[in-house]
């Protein structure tokens, strides 16, 4: 059943391209229907699949001569991320309700991207996973380059090239592993049991991890992320931060860590406390957390604040993965979900609700606008989203980041201590943005009471989208078991020695 998330999205993309032009209402209604259908399937699949280990959804020979199979399956980790994709897809359509330029094409690219993302999360054949991973790259380029803003062509090309270089690294790893395992199969399960020599894993692991890590915003390969997020149209930045960065993190976990577990073994010597690739990437993750937060603290563009906060929050995911213990990796997966929802919400508020009305994202300009009075809905939504992003109890971010920190304490207390700085900084930059953008009453607003300068009213798609994402974060924050029941067994199996 879950496979239909993929097919529906691609069929939807094709249909969007063929729908009559000049009817934006039809195009967006159709896109919403497709996205909702995807979400419904994801929810049903989640409900049916939790606690059942790895469920094979489809398993057909694709290229029998080379042992490539069309294997779609889902374990707890996949289920959670498919659910996230469903939520982000629906929210993205809702926040693109005002796209009038080439609407059909916009939703065609949008749904193609979604289809690729679903595909990656459900693939259990490395070749197939790679195919879906690459399918997701091209629509991103066009979404940003055509419908974006600030330096969109530069940002889109940068993103496309970073992604493609990353996937080239993954492809090299895939080809080498395939050849080394005897060219029998590209199935993840088969490759995980191929017992690659440690010397091979030692170079394949960093290669593939960095290849996927580029898309996860791994410092110092993160620079595509802020420019890409800022240039992208709202829905695309929601998807970029919400699910595309998760593709990278998911690849790190599902491919790099599963196929090459010995790549994280100690080298046998240490250099300034770093004695393995695991240490290297954990330190890079911590640097990403602190660096992203520090840079977010001094941004003058509202969207850049959120862009860099994404780098910081994704650092927690990568740190969680490198703890290699049950609680840390579970936290990392939960953080993927949590950040996907919260970052989507923040980008929606900044990019759609505020920017489309004020036509500026400069905090210095927003300061003079008294937005808390003129857009109370946006202000309070941002307060809640900001609180969730800071990691206050009650929201999903808290549960996730706490688990990551506990896990990393077990692995190396220094990591936790440094990452903790990132949390404090997270409060600071969120607070600063919140205060400057919405609650600066110190400046007189010349336009406040003039007729004709009212900001457009909040529309129903915006309210629905905000409520939906907020509810998801709150629900998971209050009742994390619902996701943890799915994630924990899958992580346990994964850490115990590859896929079941």
């Amino acid at each position: 059943m879950l496979a239909w998330t993929i097919y529906l999205s691609f069929a939807g993309a094709l249909a969007e391209a063929l729908l009559p032009k000049g009817k934006p209402a039809l195009a967006r209604g159709f896109a919403l229907a497709v996205a909702v259908a995807g979400l419904v399937i994801a929810v049903l699949g989640f409900a049916a699949g939790t606690g059942h280990g790895r469920m094979v959804v489809a398993d057909l020979p694709w290229v029998p001569a080379m042992g490539i199979r069309y294997t779609l399956a889902a374990d707890g980790i996949s289920l959670v991320l498919v659910l996230l994709t469903g939520l982000a897809a629906v929210a993205g359509v809702l926040f693109s309700w005002n796209i009038d330029l080439r609407t059909n094409e916009f939703f065609a690219f949008y749904l193609a991207l979604i289809g690729g993302v679903y595909g990656v999360f459900l693939s259990f054949d490395l070749f197939l996973l790679f195919v879906f991973y690459e399918i997701a790259i091209v629509p991103k380029y066009f979404l940003i380059a055509i419908w974006g803003s600030t330096r969109r062509e530069y940002a889109a090309m940068k993103l496309a090239l970073y992604s493609f270089v990353g996937s080239a690294m993954v492809l090299i790893g895939l080809l080498a592993s395939y050849a080394l395992s005897g060219s029998h199969s590209t199935g993840l399960v088969d490759l995980a049991h191929a017992n690659f020599p440690v010397s091979f894993q030692m170079w394949a692991f960093p290669l593939v991890f960095v290849g996927f890590g580029i898309l996860a915003g791994l410092w110092p390969f993160h620079t595509w992320a802020p420019t890409g997020h800022v240039a992208a149209p709202t829905a695309a930045s929601m998807l970029l931060a919400g699910v595309v960065m998760k593709l990278g993190a998911y690849g790190c976990l599902r491919v790099a860590m599963t196929l090459y577990p010995h790549g994280m073994d100690p080298w046998g010597f240490t250099l300034v406390g770093i004695g393995s690739w695991r240490d290297v990437f954990a330190v890079l993750a911590v640097i990403g957390i602190v660096y992203g937060a520090l840079v977010a603290l001094v941004q003058s563009d509202f969207k850049f604040v959120i862009g860099y906060s994404s780098v910081s929050h994704m650092g927690f995911v990568l740190l969680g993965l490198m703890t290699l213990n049950q609680i840390g990796v579970t936290g990392a997966v939960l953080q993927m979900f949590s950040h996907g929802v919260i970052a989507g919400l923040l980008f929606a508020i900044v990019g759609r609700i505020v920017y489309e009305r004020t036509h500026t994202r400069q905090l210095a300009h927003l300061e003079t606008m008294h937005l808390s009075k003129r857009l109370p809905f946006a202000a309070w939504a941002f307060v809640l989203a900001g609180v969730a992003s800071m990691g206050l109890p009650g929201f999903s971010g808290f549960v996730a980041e706490l688990q990551v920190l506990v896990g990393s304490w077990k692995a190396n207390p220094w990591w936790t201590a440094s990452a903790g700085v990132g949390i404090v900084l997270g409060v600071a930059y969120t607070w600063r943005a919140l205060q400057k953008a919405f609650f600066s009453d110190g400046h007189p607003d010349p336009h406040l009471h003039e007729p004709g300068h009212e900001l457009a009213a909040i529309t129903w798609p915006e309210v629905t989208g905000v409520v939906m994402l907020m509810a998801a974060s709150l629900f998971v924050g209050l009742y994390p078991r619902i996701l943890l029941d799915a994630i924990e067994p899958a992580v346990k199996a994964l850490l115990a020695g590859g896929v079941q």
Binding site: V63, M66, V131, F142, A145
Partner: protein, 515 residues
């Protein structure tokens, strides 16, 4: 020699030649007063029919091929790679003939079709030939046709210049090739590929002297010119830019298929000879570092030469393409890069059919894609009068289906799944790594994969203009319905073959079963 066999095995070539003459008779004799449109359609249809009949006669070829009198050595083969390549050549010729339908560069359409068919005959011969003399004759037949086709736009200076450059380079490289062939004959006393390889292998160290290396370098230069490998590539950008679109498409597809089929014949012959001398060699064990067995003489030196050509071609082709402003030149440099990937496959050639199939898969699908690309370029060119990048501005508005075709084809060339270009690359590189897990193989594959990431940049430069940047001129670009139909078919083929790679793979494998 059996004359019945000779007749049967050269039947496709004969059919093409007869069709060429028939086209000339009909065009110059019967339709002298007719409108250009009618003559064009007649010539193209006759040409296509000829190809189809030739295709049918391929099936009549004797399974064992044609042997020398009183010997079991083969002159012309009819199975395996040869049969696949011949079918590909005929299919791609049909597609280029369809592209001719909307062309306006010449009034002498009959001659154009006739020369195309004759050049294709040369291609068929090369693909099947196992004898140096026939190889050389086939190559010259193909090349002479290509020079004429390049020069066919008589009123265009660029066309004449391109043809002149192509001809001078071509003549020179043919001389090199012949020189190399003569040394091979001198060393081994035979013109048959199999006998030559046997001779080299039996003589072992003695034959692997400087003379052999000289011969190999000469041959590499001659064939490097045909496949436009760096440093013998100078003619390609000019020829691609100056030649009329159908001619350029023909050069980029059919001629490449034939040349790579020849390289495959050489590789196969080398490995089979090695096998029959040393016996029981496992698939592609010849390059497994110091521990594995080495092919003495021919194999290793040849592999090293091809490795060098492949590396330089990939690097130069991809980097030079970045700087191009003309889409035709961009395609030309990208063709050089693609030739580099395939040469990599030839440098690490496997005893099993895996490498041969991988390379043929690549070249056939690449040919298909390139013919389509030239089709799109020719439509844009005839509407805007230019093939510069900026001529593609706003194509998605000016002709949405054409822009969609361009999107599919260029993304396929860049190697984006699920399009066929990605599968071809994966298949080829997997074959390379299946042959050798040495550092050299892995390093070169990594280089190739990395450079294909670079290639996305220049393909996106074209797509960016078609889809992203605003149009300067919004008048619709119209394409001839036949052209559009052919382009659609090609685009759908690229998608389908990419999603279901087994279609083409199984079809190709059929030809190898009987061996």
């Amino acid at each position: 020699m059996n004359y019945a066999d000779l007749f049967r095995i050269t039947l496709p070539e004969t059919v093409l030649e007869i069709t060429a003459l028939l086209v000339l008779i009909v065009d110059l004799g019967l339709l002298r007063k007719a409108e250009l449109k009618v003559r064009l359609a007649t010539a193209a249809v006759l040409g296509v029919l000829g190809c189809i009949v030739a295709q049918a006669t391929l099936l009549l070829s004797p399974a064992g091929g044609l042997t020398y009198p009183g010997s079991s050595d083969v002159v012309l083969t009819a199975t395996g790679s040869a049969a696949v390549a011949q079918t590909g050549i005929l299919g791609l010729t049909v597609l280029t003939l369809f592209l001719l339908v909307s062309s306006k560069f010449t009034r002498n359409v009959g001659e154009f079709v006739a020369v195309t068919l004759m050049a294709a005959t040369g291609g068929l011969l090369i693909a099947a030939a196992q004898d140096l003399l026939i190889i050389f004759v086939g190559l010259e037949l193909l090349s002479l046709g290509l020079y004429i086709l390049t020069a066919f736009a008589k009123r265009s200076g660029a066309s004449a210049e391109a043809a002149m450059k192509y001809y001078l380079f071509g003549g020179m490289s043919a001389a090199f090739l012949l020189f190399g062939f003569s040394y091979l004959y001198g060393i081994t006393g035979s013109t048959n590929l199999h006998q030559i390889m046997l001779g080299i292998n039996l003589a072992k160290g003695a034959a692997a002297g400087p003379l052999l290396y000289l011969a190999l370098v000469m041959i590499a230069a001659g064939l490097g010119f045909k496949v436009a490998a760096v440093p013998f590539h100078m003619w390609a950008p000019d020829a691609y830019e100056g030649a009329p679109a159908p001619a350029a498409a023909f050069i980029a597809s059919v001629s490449k298929v034939a040349s790579f089929a020849l390289l495959i014949s050489i590789g196969t012959a080398a490995l089979h000879a090695f096998d029959s001398v040393h016996g029981g060699v496992t698939a592609g064990a010849h390059l497994q570092g110091a521990n594995g067995p080495h092919i003495l003489g021919f194999g290793s030196a040849w592999s090293k030469l091809l490795m060098v050509l492949a590396t330089v071609s990939m690097v130069v082709g991809n980097l030079a393409a970045l700087a191009q402003r003309s889409v035709r030149r961009l395609v030309a440099y990208s063709a050089i890069a693609h030739a580099g990937y395939m040469l990599l496959g030839l440098a690490f050639f496997s005893y099993s059919d895996r490498s041969a199939q991988g390379i043929l898969y690549y070249i056939l699908t690449y040919g298909l894609t390139t013919v389509g690309a030239f089709g799109v370029i020719s439509v844009v060119e005839s509407a805007t009068g230019s093939d510069k990048l900026d001529a593609f501005l706003g194509l998605s508005k000016r002709n949405p289906p054409l822009a969609a075709v361009l999107l599919v084809l260029f993304l396929s060339l860049a190697g984006i799944p699920p399009l066929v270009g990605f599968w071809a690359k994966f298949n080829l590189f997997a074959a390379v790594l299946g042959v050798s897990s040495s550092g050299a193989a892995l390093g070169l594959v990594a280089l190739a994969v990395g450079l294909s990431a670079v290639s996305l940049y220049y393909y996106l430069q074209v797509l960016k203009r078609a889809y992203v940047m605003p149009a300067v001129d919004e008048t619709p670009v119209t394409a001839h319905p036949v052209t559009m139909l052919v382009l659609m078919v090609i685009a759908v083929g690229v998608i389908l073959l990419g999603c279901f790679p087994t279609l083409l793979q199984n079809w190709m494998a059929n030809f190898y079963v009987t061996m």
